[in-house]
Amino acid sequence: GAVELVAARVPVLADHPLVRGPRFRKLKIGAGHRLDVKASGVFVLGIGHGNKLLTDLYNCHLTKVYTVGGLFGKASDDFSDTGNLVEKTTFDHITREKLERILAVIQGTNQKALLMYSNIDMKTQEAYELAVKGLIRPMGKSPPIITAIRCLQFALPEFQLEIHCLHETQQYLRKMVHEIGLELKSSAVCTQVRRIRDGVFTVDDALPRTQWNLQSIQEAIRNCQLKVETELEKTLA
């Protein structure tokens, strides 16, 4: 008669969790636009497929928005209030109007840079209309560009700015505070750089440390999914 071989599965210790070890060891997490050690605010992370979306979003060149705090009367070697003091100056002559005038100049020069790096022929009607609506932006590499800047608070010696920008570094923003101080015939150091928006992600979407758990993270991903998709479709179409 024919002999049958029957396969039977027998549990082996080699598969026991105490022998095999944990099933999941790694999680692929990617980071979005950099935020340096001294700065705070919205920081975008991606998990798994989110890493690809991060790359796509990077290629959309969306603006980021910061609140930047400054203090008149001092200059430091790294432009921040924790750096080594280089100079002390008076600041009583500074007024809000004077500051806003400087901000307008900054906005103006940056506007020119914006148009230049966006490779748009301004002579066309279409280009003009887009520019008026603020829909122009460089879709390739460029130096940092400020698309909007305004003064939120002014109480000598402190002031606070809101800055919309592209391709920036936080250190660039600190240097800007330093230069504003110089333009106003005084000096200034940067006390705070806080990102309140990164593309489609706002402070409201961001999870504070108290919510760094699986459930909150899953919910946060779900809540932002739609606007991420919409933005990608709009820009990359």
Binding site: V12, L13, A14, L18, V19, G21, R209, T210
Partner: protein
Amino acid sequence: FSDWDDIPPSSALEVISEEEAAQIIAEPLLPIQSSTLRDYVDHSETLAKLVHLGVDLSQVEKRQKAGQLLLTLDFEKDVKKILLFLKDVGIEDNQLGPFLTKNPYILGEDLEALETRVAYLKSKKFGKSEIAQMVSRAPYLLLFSVERLDNRLGFFKNELGLSVKKTKDLVIRLPRLLTGKIEPVKENLQVCQIELGFQRNEIQQIVCKTPKILTASKKRLKQTFDYLHNIMGIPHHMLTRFPQVFNSKLLRIRERHMFLAFLGRAQYDPAQPSYISLDQLVSLPDEVFCTEIAKASMQDFENFLKTL
């Protein structure tokens, strides 16, 4: 034994029936070398019994020569007596697995040496349950010679200027002090005295309340002290009263203090009204801290955190 008159063994090339072929069990040989105990666990009584005790072999195999040691041990002859010894010392059955995972090397120790060391601790008037606690929390303890244990106890007694009883209480609470390196402890004491400016008797009080300060990172210790003393304005004597703040994360202290300051409630002087103790500041969970101490909601706290 073989009988020469019996039928000679068959040649490997001899033709056999299908039935006989199916009955030959040809298992692969055990590998001579392997980087994991998985290859041996189903063929080793010692390994199998250890897994059943709860030993995590996937962790053990990462340690230097530990896997090799286990494979050379015989369960009945070598391992059993050490297990009985550990149970005698007071390690619970369900604790044996995790204990051996952290210290598999004890299975290769000489039983007499181990017993001598326990006898030494008993001679120093450590109670049975105290010894069990120390061994459990510092699994390497019994690998140290009597001489070394003695030196360590002497060191702590002299450096800190504590009584015999207080020194014992200290090492019972943090037995790691006996097994860890001494240099970092010396350095931490220097930091407390010279850089942080605590008096010797203050250091004694702090160490007895929170022994972990002796093994904390110096950088963290200095940063936490700097914030508490220079930014929050807490004087030395208050820090001596509540040394548990040094065990707390600096971020937690900062965020909660800034929130209280924002609300105008940052009052840490017991002589003044609405006093908030450092203990309340750091030990309470977030929700309780918000409602009882800050008198605000969790949502308010989280909104505030987002402005930092």
